[in-house]
């Protein structure tokens, strides 16, 4: 076979390979969305982070505004310290509320930021004080069972018996979940 023909085919081969790699990086991977320019880092303490992982998204109003950079354990307060890198384009007030949510029923966990009303904005190295822990399903169930056991046995045959029971079933267990650190969002 001619040497120039071989050169041409190898050239096509290598170009195809580079194109495939670029395609993988751009179309399949997150190289384009990964680099979010300049960022600032804030920390938030949580009593329980559930299944939150580094690189989990930080969302506000459903839009990804940053990523979880690092998760460490503070042995002085026995809390998890989560540092978040947030895009410089999105400033948040100082009294922003950080929640750990789950995407879908079995999906990954992410941090949701809800803006407060403070005039001053969060700066690099600041700490978000108002946080809400991840919902732990076992805790929720045990709380529910505990409430069920604590309530007095409903008198049977009473005409009003269904109403308090419905209240206890529907309202009380869910209301108490996750309100330990702070409850003021407004």
């Amino acid at each position: 076979m001619d040497r120039t023909t071989i050169d041409m085919w190898v050239g096509i081969f290598v170009t195809l390979g580079v194109a495939a790699l670029l395609g993988l990086a751009m179309k399949v991977g997150n190289l384009t969305t990964n680099t979010i320019g300049e960022t600032y880092t804030v920390t938030a303490n949580f009593e329980n982070i559930g299944g939150l992982k580094p690189r989990a998204p930080v969302k506000s109003a459903g839009v990804v505004v940053g990523r979880v950079a690092d998760i460490t354990f503070d042995s002085a307060t026995y809390e998890a310290v989560v540092s978040l890198t947030i895009d410089k384009r999105y400033p948040f007030p100082k009294d922003t509320f950080a929640n750990i949510y789950t995407a879908g029923l079995l999906g990954e966990q992410y941090i949701g930021l809800e803006a407060g009303g403070d005039e001053a904005s969060l700066a690099n190295g600041d700490k978000i004080t108002q946080t809400q822990d991840a919902v732990v399903l076992e805790k929720m169930i045990s709380q529910f069972l505990y409430n069920k056991a604590a309530e007095p046995a409903a008198p049977t045959g009473n005409s009003e018996s269904t109403k308090p029971e419905a209240d206890a079933l529907g309202a009380s267990p869910l209301d108490n979940i996750g309100k330990q650190p702070a409850t003021t969002t407004e």
């Binding site: 096509i12 993988l24 991977g29 990964n34 690189r55």
Partner: protein
């Protein structure tokens, strides 16, 4: 009677010992050839057309088998993934499944297995026959190092071709999965790509896949070269060496894959 059992036992031990020593000897000889190839590979870069010629034979000629099998592997992944995922009502995650399976594992591993069968056997048979017909000795007589002239260009060609083939395999496989998932089954195209982009990481998934394919390229090519260089100069010897190339390369690829994956997932 008793001595008969003893003799059989001794013979058994002897066989195990010989196999063991033979294996270690081959490993050492292979490493020595690897080292010799590395230090005498300057010429394969100075006279780069030698390497390009081998890239043509190992890479370009393997394209068809790699691309066709990638297409079918991607389509099968799409079908199988859809049937399992729809039970959990998350058939949009099919893009993630296909992409991660291909980029992390199937791309490098299946490419390396096909490469060993398509290109590795050719290398072994070629070098084995060169040795059997005393072409290698003739080169040495002319003061041309056969390692620099014959072995090193083939080695570097394999190392160059393997990552390219693996990247093409992943890309074509994902296209195959897309064809099954979106036009055939009716998964939403936007969800297919966006979920894929959200969970495939450039560094942890794609770059690690490329590293894997480079390591597999080194292993497969080196095993093929060593088996050819070490083959007894007979027709039977070359045929045995070719068989051993496929067996050893496949086992090495699968074993190395486990080791590399355990390192990559722990980091």
């Amino acid at each position: 009677m008793k001595s008969g059992i003893l003799v059989a036992l001794v013979r058994g031990f002897r066989m195990v010992g010989r196999r063991c020593i033979d294996g270690i000897w081959r490993l050492g000889a292979g490493m020595r050839l690897f080292w010799l190839t590395l230090i005498s590979s300057g010429e394969s870069f100075r006279r780069f057309h030698l390497t390009i010629r081998e890239v043509y034979f190992t890479g370009v000629m393997s394209l068809i088998i790699i691309l066709v099998s990638a297409f079918f592997v991607g389509m099968v992944l799409g079908l199988q993934g859809y049937h399992t995922l729809q039970k959990y009502g998350s058939s949009e995650a099919i893009g993630v499944l296909v992409a991660l399976a291909l980029v992390r594992e199937l791309g490098p591993v299946v490419t390396a297995l096909l490469f060993a069968g398509r290109a590795g056997t050719a290398i072994t048979a070629e070098i084995g026959l060169m040795k059997a017909t005393e072409q290698l000795s003739a080169m040495e007589m002319m003061a041309v190092s056969p390692i620099a002239r014959v072995v090193a260009p083939r080695f570097w060609a394999g190392v160059i071709a393997m990552p390219i083939l693996a990247a093409l395999f992943s890309m074509v496989g994902i296209l195959g999965g897309y064809l099954v998932a979106v036009p055939l089954i009716g998964v939403d195209a936007g969800a297919f790509w966006s979920q894929m982009q959200a969970s495939v990481d450039w560094q942890h998934d794609i770059l690690n896949g490329v590293i894997k394919s480079v390591v597999f390229g080194v292993a497969c090519t080196m095993i093929a070269l060593f088996e050819g260089y070490d083959a007894p100069p007979t027709a039977e010897g070359v045929s045995r060496a070719t068989t051993r190339t496929v067996v050893t390369s496949s086992l090495a690829v699968l074993g190395l894959d486990f080791i590399l994956t355990s390192f990559m997932l722990s980091v």
